[in-house]
Symmetry: D2
Subunit: 278 residues, 4 copies
């Protein structure tokens, strides 16, 4: 008995659920969970099913291809540990939260390596038996530094996700394109408020009563990629921006880990600069 | 073109989604939304679909009956305003919130009447053009008073829901049976904490840092019916129980109105003393 | 025995708490509650005390004036119902929430009148025994219309707060100056995200996973006045902007009513485009 | 210049703030923050001030003693790292969260040791340079096992707090008395709901729509000690109790770490089985 995650998105039309479920029925598959959504504005259909049964991945894929519209995107995925790269700078809270879940075997992923533009986190990372790469940025321009990172990444096969666990450098379009919808970032504000640098400082200056964090896929517009998860904490006037930052770290790490979990479980569709999450 | 809400629950078995969607396909219906859930512990299947097309309610029902297991519960519902009775005692916040939504035409319901064991809220209710029935309880035992309420209710045809908007009397099993899974109550605590009288007083004495409210269907065990919706507010030591009560009212009214909305939109399945909500 | 709310803000220096409390002690006052805050960035001291005892307002004020720095702002307030004007457009949820609290005698205010640029809400408002003024804006430019509103407001003595309960017109600097820090607005987004028109539409387009509402004092920069209260609700991809709007109304009305309560209880200090709230 | 945290609680009477602040003024101290609260039910006064200046701890203490009522509790605390013992069983999330904060130097504490009734977490703990004590419980009755733990604890001087980071054994009254108001536990439910074993299982069976976690001081009644912090997450019918447990871990660890931070900063007063937290 095998288990598959079947992800389908297509231009909406009548009969899609019927067609997909008829294939499941034909192969005598048991549906463990099933989610559908139709975006009526864009006339777009999304479906994610988890099925169990006795059929090969390729058979199932081909059968679905046959009944579904030509332009439908069909993914038949055998659940397995995904390969991820973590990138960080100096702060350890978001990275550490992921490392702890990894240690507890609660993260469905192989951490291939941690890459940082500083050496500060090496000791922590290596304790978890994970390779740490310090890629210097001093004396290099953005492109030069990033080339070194990209060269390093190129040595790994099958990177499923690059997780920016408080990696404090902006990626160039080249990087983003190469890992399209594979780079997950945590931004330390409730986007789209406080885009850019020092969001807690900005929040302090604005006198907000709530701070937040946003996990999103990275695209070419700073902090404007598709949002995966957000959460907030209430604050009051007694919080200076350092207090906000301290409290904010707890939100950041939980939101990033939640977004990563959703990605590892193949629950996210990206389209129109948004996400559909089942 | 007609719209239907199709609600199905059944013992789980393979092919249910296929069978239902094949009927939708056969009748050329457009699926506006579709939700399924399988409770693996109880092996129970739940499905709610909203479909649009050119078929009669009875045709659709019969076609589904034909393909689904004999014991399946099948509901084909034409969306329309449901008939509700509101019951209250002296407090106006929960009742008032529903009245305001009614006034704004945001409540998909006809309010047949408001019934109270006091006369305090008459003036408010009548301003909204709604009949107010004061059913005395002074000098009557519980059964006697309730009989008067039941007699009054019996005069209304087709009551879909009885909404206890802070009705501060306990219903007898007879009442509960007569309106099984049709009575929605708001309890002013985060159930199952603080069952019974004076939950804010209990919460104060316990020194909790959070208060809550719970909307639930009423069954024969006090405050133990199937939960529909819950929400909370953070508090601190400076809240005495009157402060908790004041803050709690905001939670209560929103939670009750949310639960009522879910019921009016036929989104709730009840089973095993729980709810499945799509 | 009289009760006073004493509000003091001043440039911070040593001994302020001592000086204030020495006056309370001298007059044999009982302190019911006491809050202080020092903004270290601006070196600003804030204090709010509620005291009970046998002293006149003027005596207490003068005694405090004597011991405190010349530039200190000192307010000795006898708690009483404040006078408020409500302004609305067509939507009733925020206005209605305030009316219901008023009806339940939970609002420490006299509602002098409701002013709207439409006539839609007249019937609702008049049911509560409150005067409704419809000030047309059709065919008038912003200044002309606002002059009519200002003329109307000028007829009321002692307006403590003007509450914009979803009043959908922008006020001119003249209006704002005349009622400086007295105008409370509810903006239907988590500011500073989605400033301006149609925030729910903006939020939908951005694909956020949280929506919010912000109550703030109005200043001359649109949606940039000092924030009083904010709250949020989690949403998902299935919310279109109408759904967001519907859910958002519940947040808006609760946040506005909370902000109004804080104002009516003299709990808010405004400075540096922020609020300190005790 | 020295900094002190001054914590005072006493039977309430007039002039307490005056008397305390007169001492601060006399010693020319700068007040960094100041919080007071009067519990009117118990007629109890609480005050926490952070002051900076040139005075010795003993001088300040004695001056306060002189002016305050005899029965007042007065604590003048020089901020420094507190000594803590962590106790755990097999789960790593709560423990790991504290270790990570310790590593990042965000925890104002020395971790003297980790004690567990299993050996599972040894490797993780030792990576952080912390001593791990495995105290077997197999074949021992509760008292025997606890004696071994108490003997071990007796070897450490000046334990400020014992933190039960998911330590899954019930402590005897003897243990609790010995570390009165020094033992912080995290209970994996929103207390007082779901006291006792398997709260997530209980929550699943009850069909709640919210799960929570509660950090509290341990007293002799299981899960009934003074509550320090609580938080919640919304869930729906699709969560089985394993899912609740998984999600719950995120709440548990954050709530425990928050409670520990409050304790380490001397922000908590305990009385009447409750906490006052500044």
């Amino acid at each position: 008995m095998k288990q598959y995650r079947v992800l389908i998105d297509a231009h909406d039309e009548k009969g899609l659920v019927y067609k997909v479920s008829s294939i499941f029925y034909k192969f005598n598959l048991n549906i463990l969970s099933n989610h559908e959504f139709v975006d009526k504005v864009n006339n777009k259909f999304f479906m994610r099913s988890v099925v169990v049964g006795d059929v090969s991945e390729i058979e199932l894929y081909e059968a679905l291809t046959e009944v579904l519209p030509k332009k439908a995107n069909i993914n038949v995925i055998t659940p397995k540990k995904k390969n991820i790269i973590l990138m960080a700078t100096k702060e350890s809270h978001a990275l550490g939260d992921i490392l702890m879940r990894y240690e507890a075997d609660e993260l469905d992923a192989n951490i291939l390596a941690v890459i940082s533009n500083y050496d500060d986190l090496r000791d922590l990372v290596e304790r978890f038996g994970i390779t740490y790469h310090h890629v210097f940025h001093e004396g290099l321009d953005r492109a030069e530094h990033e080339n070194k990172v990209l060269e390093l990444l190129a040595q790994f096969e099958d990177i499923d996700y690059v997780v920016l666990a408080k990696y404090m450098r902006i990626l160039t379009p080249r990087f983003v394109e190469e890992y399209n919808n594979k780079i997950i970032n945590i931004h330390h504000s409730f986007l789209p408020a406080f885009i850019g640098a020092n969001p807690y400082k900005q929040a302090y200056d604005r006198g907000v009563k709530i701070i937040g964090a946003t996990a999103h896929f990275v695209n070419n517009n700073l902090d404007e990629g598709p949002i995966i998860a957000q959460d907030i904490r209430h604050i009051d006037h007694a919080f200076d921006w350092k207090d906000m930052q301290r409290l904010g770290k707890d939100v950041e790490k939980i939101v990033l880990s939640r977004a990563l979990k959703l990605a590892l479980e193949d629950r996210i569709f990206v389209y129109a600069n948004k996400t559909v999450i089942f």
